[in-house]
Symmetry: C2
Subunit: 301 residues, 2 copies
Amino acid sequence: MKSLTELFIKADNLPKSRVVVAAAQEEATLNASLDAFRRGWIDLTLVGDLDKIRSILSSAGMDCEDIRLIKATTLEEAAVISVREISEGRGDILLKGLVDTSILLKAVLNKEAGLRKSSLLSHFMVYEVPSWNRLVALSDGGMNTHPDLPKKKAILDNALEAMQKLGYMSVKTCLLAAKEKPDPSMPATVEAAELASMYDDSPHIVEGPMALDLALSRESAEVKKYSSRISGEVDLFIVSSIEVGNVLGKAFTLLAGAQSAGVILGASIPVLVVSRSDSRITKLYSIALGKVLASNERSGR
Amino acid sequence: MKSLTELFIKADNLPKSRVVVAAAQEEATLNASLDAFRRGWIDLTLVGDLDKIRSILSSAGMDCEDIRLIKATTLEEAAVISVREISEGRGDILLKGLVDTSILLKAVLNKEAGLRKSSLLSHFMVYEVPSWNRLVALSDGGMNTHPDLPKKKAILDNALEAMQKLGYMSVKTCLLAAKEKPDPSMPATVEAAELASMYDDSPHIVEGPMALDLALSRESAEVKKYSSRISGEVDLFIVSSIEVGNVLGKAFTLLAGAQSAGVILGASIPVLVVSRSDSRITKLYSIALGKVLASNERSGR
């Protein structure tokens, strides 16, 4: 994909999904879901404190007729009810409102809910950097703090599946590290080499360990005589720790002016955790991302 | 400091230093040192394979009269002789030529050489980001892979001393992590809080744990209601691992178009390790940085 605008176009052209908002009495999140609702992308189920929810809807000039409302007394209850709505087939995307992420994910992972799928939940971001002519994805800069090799493999598998749903046939993946040669003093380099070797026979190109300069610049790779099939064309970065993912994602946003969209992968439905500090457009990009992933997801259920 | 150009001006106005180049038969490094020599910044001692060195000097149109040449048969010998030149008072800055960094630093750390000073050698970079009106420094993205708390303190102390030599009275330091609250699942956050508390009574402002968005943008800090004395004005980033430092430094360069200068701190003289892939101007910035640090260093020896 070349831009996040393509996500909007995909979302415009897909049948409606139903978004369930857990503890929807969070104004910024609810307003973002209303943006998507007005655009005709989604149906809405709002779970939580109905007085507060109705008040926000009223401020937004919305009447409640076309929106399903379910009362929940506590945040925990809002999480459990929201997950049940989805597990019983009345929702396709879960959107976090006021409830803590940990409480929401506990409800998602509850075995009776039946929404577990991958061995691991992981955070996945997509960035559109102005002046580049393609999107770049990043995982995991938000959930898994210091993944070991099996977890890195699960993170990568989750991300590759999402990229395929976004339309990628073969994903050019960089396993990011501080240098290119496996070095026992830097475990990230050794694990990257091991992880890359597991994908020799896959349709994807997984290279690493590789440092950022060689990933972003074919010219740098040529100067350093580093032979790569993906230098300057990386679609996906897999990082070794949350510190690296957090810094790289924020560098894309703050240093390169990127727009972004994010989702939690690994459950049988996309889980969206939009941040209050996200811009309105970023929240909408995330809902579009969730819708595109859910749409394909549904056919696989 | 506002720009790397200020380094050039400082270097122009200081008395000459003598740079000793270990295994100077590396063309790009030797040419960078000749640039500084022609600018009148430095005297030069070239140690290594004299045939090759003379050939490079000849190609560069230099005669050898004003340059001290010392023969060394092996790279190890070049390292040992170069360090001895400095420890015996005949040099102020050590510049790595063809010799491996590990061999050079082993010679520096040899107790008989007398060049040990700090408890730890650390890598220190300074970046000039276009559109910002100040420099930002970063340590350690090049040498110490996963420093523990005492090592982080040594890295910070080395960096603060260098910043003071560059003219900073009080250094605004960010201890970078993935979030602001100490969290046992992310040791970098816990260690950042401990490290910050050690500088409560120092002339410097050391804050952390802090994520990149809050460090770079006062607006982000305000949205997140994060109270900080340094948001948007950070002079120095201390990172938790080489992976983070490497990514952040390369993001400054590749995403924000930064110019940079680098030096190894912790010995009694600056050690310069310029990379062949560095641009000519970057190499010269590093020599200027070494000269400014050496000049202050000298008065303290």
